[in-house]
């Protein structure tokens, strides 16, 4: 029985230690309100759990692509403009913008590098359009993502994009991404290199 008591004691002590380790040490800073966190949190993870309600289609996205001035930088057909290519071109027009890593070819579609469609949503929502970043409504972002995905042959024209369907879209690059190995303190960058 003694060893059980000892085990219990160890357990209680560990819990106390854990509680101690996890309590704030300095008490500086304040607790944000739930509303503040909601307003600031624009990160959309691969499983899409942060995606807001709303929906969009490629047809609406095609209209928005012009109305929101996307065409000014990305070109009328989504390629050939000064900004990165969004829609596969026929390869005849060379983009003005330098081919960004990982650079595939002149019809390199930046948006399609993403492993998850949620990344496109996150990117457009936080960073577009130029000089009016963060002004698009969720429905508009869903529609623009649907438009780009449809024009690149990733989804069907009538496929509705929303918080449930978007994370399920399989991106063409999904199986061609290798994450960096787990990071460890004082481990070499890549064992055996060179």
């Amino acid at each position: 029985m003694a060893w059980r008591k000892l085990l219990l004691l160890v357990a209680v002590l560990s819990l106390a230690q854990l509680a101690k380790a996890q309590s704030p040490k300095y008490g500086v800073g304040r607790t944000p309100t739930a509303e503040e966190v909601r307003a600031w949190d624009i990160s959309i993870g691969p499983d899409g759990k942060e995606l807001p309600p709303g929906q969009g289609t490629a047809a609406v996205g095609a209209k928005l692509f012009r109305e929101k001035q996307c065409v000014v930088c990305h070109g009328g057909t989504g390629s050939g403009g000064p900004a990165p290519t969004l829609i596969k071109s026929d390869g005849k027009k060379k983009p003005m913008y330098p081919c960004l890593a990982p650079c595939v070819d002149d019809s390199n579609v930046m948006a399609l590098h993403a492993q998850y469609a949620t990344t496109m949503w996150d990117y457009i929502n936080r960073a577009m359009p130029l000089n009016k970043e963060g002004t698009l409504k969720p429905d508009e972002v869903y529609s623009l993502v649907a438009f780009i995905l449809f024009k690149n042959g990733v989804i069907a024209e009538d496929q509705v994009m929303n918080a449930q369907t978007l994370p399920k879209v399989k991106m063409p690059n999904h199986d061609h991404v290798a994450p960096a190995p787990e990071w460890k303190h004082a481990a070499p960058r890549l064992a055996g290199y060179p």
């Binding site: 930046m110 481990a187 890549l190 055996g192």
Partner: protein, 413 residues
């Protein structure tokens, strides 16, 4: 007393003469009596914040392949003039710049700026900049380097081949202090760090690294961060490629997986080996003197000098060859060798006036040695020709060729 007052009179006299001389140099000067509308030196500015000598003109230039300003009137990649550098610290004014696609340098009022920590934490917290400064601080030297810092045969100078790296003395709060204050929950694997600029650039960093040696920095080289370097606060992720070191830091979200967000997805690759070489920098070194487009006036004594750094620790040693790689000799480390910081090396050398190829290579504290291009090509089973592009953050050895007339040229050309 006599000497003192005489000294003071002499000072006043000299000052008057100086002001008179300044006035005489101005067209409107009349009757030797200075007036207020004359073009006097701005004494207040001279007193308030120092300037370098007008004879010193070392300056940054934009990356040739990605001009700044670009089509959108924005800056992208700006090279630090490391051919002129001495010691190990880059002046804040000459620090290299790489910005997100589509980000302007914002002017942020530090009183309005906040840092939010939330996600998988027991206590979400929001801090003002003044509150962050109340936490115990550390001061450390760390380099930053852009993934685009890649020498090409077309580059002439070391500014062009290696100017996308800089080293500063940073002051800030360990990120681990702030994360522990919030209480990281079990199952957390990454953080997403986000900036406050127009595009809200964000990146994912492993939680082990976030809790290891990352800093939320507000000081750079003894003063506040420069706006181009993330004023009022930025993240430092020592040794990781520049992209992870989020400027204008406004939010940290603790999450369960790699979010592969805004900054990250342009750098994703299909080969895990390349992914590893992309995330962490070096070991890398380069000779800054004599370097491309400099000229040795003739045979005789010189010191070969340059910078060495590694994203995995401190620099253990630097070797120099002056015969194109046949023999290597140890250089002297002339600054302390701090983890993930530039280290200045020097190698006393007498040039015999004959054409030669000089190179440096470094080894870090883990024993990893900087590879030549041939060694990198061999590792990836690729031919070592002009098409070979060292995968990830290029840390290969750069040769400089010194011609018989003392002119220095890119050895890749």
């Amino acid at each position: 007393m006599e000497a003192k007052s005489s000294g003071r009179r002499k000072f006043l006299k000299t000052s008057a003469a100086l002001i008179g001389a300044a006035a005489a140099g101005v067209k409107t000067a009349g009757e030797g009596s200075p007036t207020h509308d004359m073009d006097m030196p701005d004494l207040e500015a001279l007193i308030a914040y120092g300037q370098r000598s007008p004879f010193v003109n070392s300056k940054r230039i934009s990356v040739m392949e990605r001009m700044s300003p670009d089509e959108f009137g924005m800056t992208f990649h700006v090279l630090s003039p490391i051919q002129d550098s001495v010691g190990m610290i880059t002046p804040s004014s000459l620090h290299y710049i790489s910005t997100h696609r589509g980000s302007y340098v914002p002017n942020i009022d530090p009183k309005e700026h906040r840092l939010l920590i939330h996600g998988m934490v027991d206590r979400p917290l929001i801090f003002t900049v003044d509150e962050i400064k109340r936490f115990p601080f550390v001061t450390r030297a760390h380099f930053l380097e852009c993934l685009g810092n890649r020498a090409k045969a077309t580059h002439k100078t070391v500014q062009e081949t290696h100017g996308l790296t800089s080293c500063s003395e940073w002051t800030g709060v360990p990120l681990s202090t702030l994360l522990k204050e919030a209480g990281v929950q079990t199952g957390a694997a990454f953080i997403v760090a986000e900036g406050a600029e127009s595009v809200k650039g964000a990146t994912s960093i492993p939680i082990e690294k976030a809790l290891d040696d990352c800093l939320v920095a507000y000081g750079q080289n003894g003063e506040a961060l420069r706006p181009q370097q993330g004023f009022p606060i930025r993240l430092l992720v020592p040794g990781f490629e520049g992209m992870h070191n989020v400027k204008y830091l406004r939010r940290i979200k603790v999450v369960e997986k790699d979010y592969m967000t805004y900054n990250d997805y342009g750098h994703i690759v299909p080969d895990a080996r390349v992914a590893a070489l992309t995330r962490i920098i070096g070991p890398k070194s380069v000779i800054t003197f004599p370097s491309g487009e400099q000229k040795l006036p003739g045979p005789g004594f010189y010191e070969i000098t340059g910078l060495a750094w590694s994203g995995a620790g401190a620099i253990r040693n630097v070797e120099i060859t002056t015969d194109g790689g046949q023999t290597w000799k140890l250089a002297e480390l002339r600054t302390p060798s701090y983890p993930m910081a530039h280290t200045r090396f020097a190698f006393p050398w007498t040039w015999d006036g004959k054409e030669c190829v000089i190179m440096s290579r470094c080894t870090d504290e883990l024993g990893t040695r900087q590879p030549t291009r041939a060694e990198s090509a061999k590792f990836f089973d690729k031919p070592d020709d002009s098409n070979f592009r060292a995968p990830g953050a290029d840390n290969t050895v750069l040769p400089w060729r010194i011609a018989a007339d003392g002119s220095v040229h890119n050895g890749m050309a």
